[in-house]
């Protein structure tokens, strides 16, 4: 099956710093989403991004499907950005809509 690898696994930032999270996938995918899982466990949609670049406030994402990777940029990080960031890809038959998740990047932003 498809492999979804995220890097780095852990990241510690000082408030105000910028960061880039990476998601590599081993096969062609139908689509890709980025999520933030907050300390209470809720998965929050960040981006639904099959290709190209999208921006939402201090966050932006770029997916290059032909090269099988996606990047999530966090600028001017805040303590509320702490949590786990997941990349998830759609793979296989569209009838299942099955999302395959990476292992996540755990981000800690220190004040």
């Amino acid at each position: 099956g498809i492999q979804v690898e995220q890097s780095p696994p852990d990241l510690i930032l000082q408030e105000g710093a910028n960061s880039t999270l990476r998601c590599n996938f081993s096969d062609s995918v139908n689509n890709l989403q980025w999520f933030h899982q907050n300390p209470w466990g809720q998965l929050i949609n960040l981006f639904y991004i099959p290709s190209g670049t999208k921006q939402n406030g201090r966050l932006s994402a770029t997916t290059v499907a032909t090269e099988r990777y996606s990047l999530l940029y966090i600028s001017s990080s805040q303590t509320t950005d702490s949590g786990v960031y997941f990349c998830a890809v759609y793979y296989g038959s569209s009838n299942t809509g099955k999302l395959i998740f990476g292992q996540g990047t755990t981000l800690q932003v220190k004040p």
Binding site: F86, G97, L99
Partner: protein
């Protein structure tokens, strides 16, 4: 509703007990998914419904796991004779699209602890 709602949020069960977890998807969403998230891991797919039809149950770990969505809205995930390895967060998600990968919206999850 405004978002995906799951209940109970927390459930403690003794080994061997049966449990039922409920998911109320976003109103009008025809696609519904169940995922299992073990501690420190990413969510893993369990099963998928399109309306009331269960189109994919390939991720259900054993025949002790059963899911239904009889009227195409609310779904229930049932786990029979719970085991300690069933301890996890069970996440429900819904999507407005069918046939093509649509954006998934997740609920807050039901955290199951089996003693």
């Amino acid at each position: 509703g405004a978002g995906v709602s799951q209940s109970p949020r927390y459930k403690v069960a003794k080994r061997g007990q049966d449990v039922a977890l409920r998911c109320d998807p976003i109103s009008g969403h025809v696609s519904l998914f169940w995922y299992q998230q073990a501690l420190g891991q990413g969510p893993e797919f369990l099963t998928y419904f399109q309306n009331e039809a269960q189109l994919d149950k390939s991720g259900l770990p054993s025949d002790r796991f059963f899911a239904e969505r009889p009227e195409g809205s609310v779904s229930t995930l049932k786990i029979q004779r719970t085991q300690q390895e069933d301890s996890a967060v069970y996440l429900c998600a819904s999507s407005s699209l069918t046939g093509v990968p649509g954006e998934l919206f997740f609920g807050e999850g039901s955290r199951l602890t089996v003693l």
